[in-house]
Amino acid sequence: MKIILNNRKEIFKADQLTIDELIKLKKFSFRLLVTKINGKLVKKENRGNAIIVEGDTVAVIHMISGG
């Protein structure tokens, strides 16, 4: 499937993925994340059952300290 991940086109072999699976596949190792599918917030506890399909726009944004 083709999706937009963090404003870039990406292709995955799978037809669908949960956000947790996507994070694992991409080897994102950040401790704190904000995740969204098609602009809608997906909280941490829902990342295991929030499904990403063809054409979705996904944001995985990592939080780091400083300000």
């Binding site: 963090n6 401790r31 704190l32 904000v34 909280k43 780091i64 300290s65 300000g67």
Partner: protein, 193 residues
């Protein structure tokens, strides 16, 4: 747009700023200088000597509350700005209440956990409100890595990689650049509506 028209438009706007440290104090001052009418600044902290390497406070203000002192400093620059200073540690409930009438919300916390909490709270409760967040501004140099990325109504300013640590402290130039990037994005949002 002429300066008078910009001022007139901005005078009716309200911007909420969560955190009055390096990001919040500098961002608030930039917005006050251009004439944003109402600025809500929230912080529970007091000014320490170590803050003066990047935050918009003065030596004789050490020990004072950041929120109320920022109001003082802003009104010395532009007395026409209505600054609402709130001395409080924000949580998801108070974020919703404090910022409900804001046109734009600026995330200006230092801790990653607080940044996440604010972004998630706003996305959940005000899906149509714009949030301008800052991620990654520690250290010095590396100008070209600092940018702004957009995810719908969420804007992230910074390099998204430089975390603050003992060996990579936050310093005035980079923190100021990112704070002003945030202010610049806020202006873009306010002036396009």
């Amino acid at each position: 747009m002429k300066l008078d028209a910009i001022k007139k438009l901005l005078s009716s706007k309200t911007v909420g700023i969560a955190g009055c440290g390096g990001l919040g104090s500098n961002c608030a001052v930039a917005l006050a200088r251009v004439g944003v009418g109402n600025i809500i600044v929230v912080d529970f902290d007091v000014i320490e000597k170590s803050n003066l390497n990047r935050q918009y406070y003065f030596y004789d203000q050490i020990g004072k509350k950041k929120s109320t002192t920022l109001k003082e400093n802003i009104n010395k620059i532009n007395p026409e700005v209505n600054v609402i200073a709130i001395d409080k540690k924000l949580d998801s409930e108070s974020i919703t209440e404090t910022f409900k009438d804001c046109n734009v919300i600026v995330e200006a916390f230092d801790k990653a956990e607080m940044k996440q909490m604010l972004i998630e709270t706003v996305l959940e409760n005000f899906p149509d409100k714009a949030i301008v967040s800052a991620i990654g501004m520690a250290g010095w140099g590396d100008n070209s890595s600092i940018k702004t990325v957009q995810h719908n109504n969420l804007f992230i300013c910074g390099d998204q990689k430089s975390e603050v640590s003992e060996d990579n402290p936050p310093l005035a130039p980079r923190v100021g650049v990112v704070a002003n990037l945030q202010a610049n994005k806020v202006l873009e949002i306010l002036l396009r509506k």
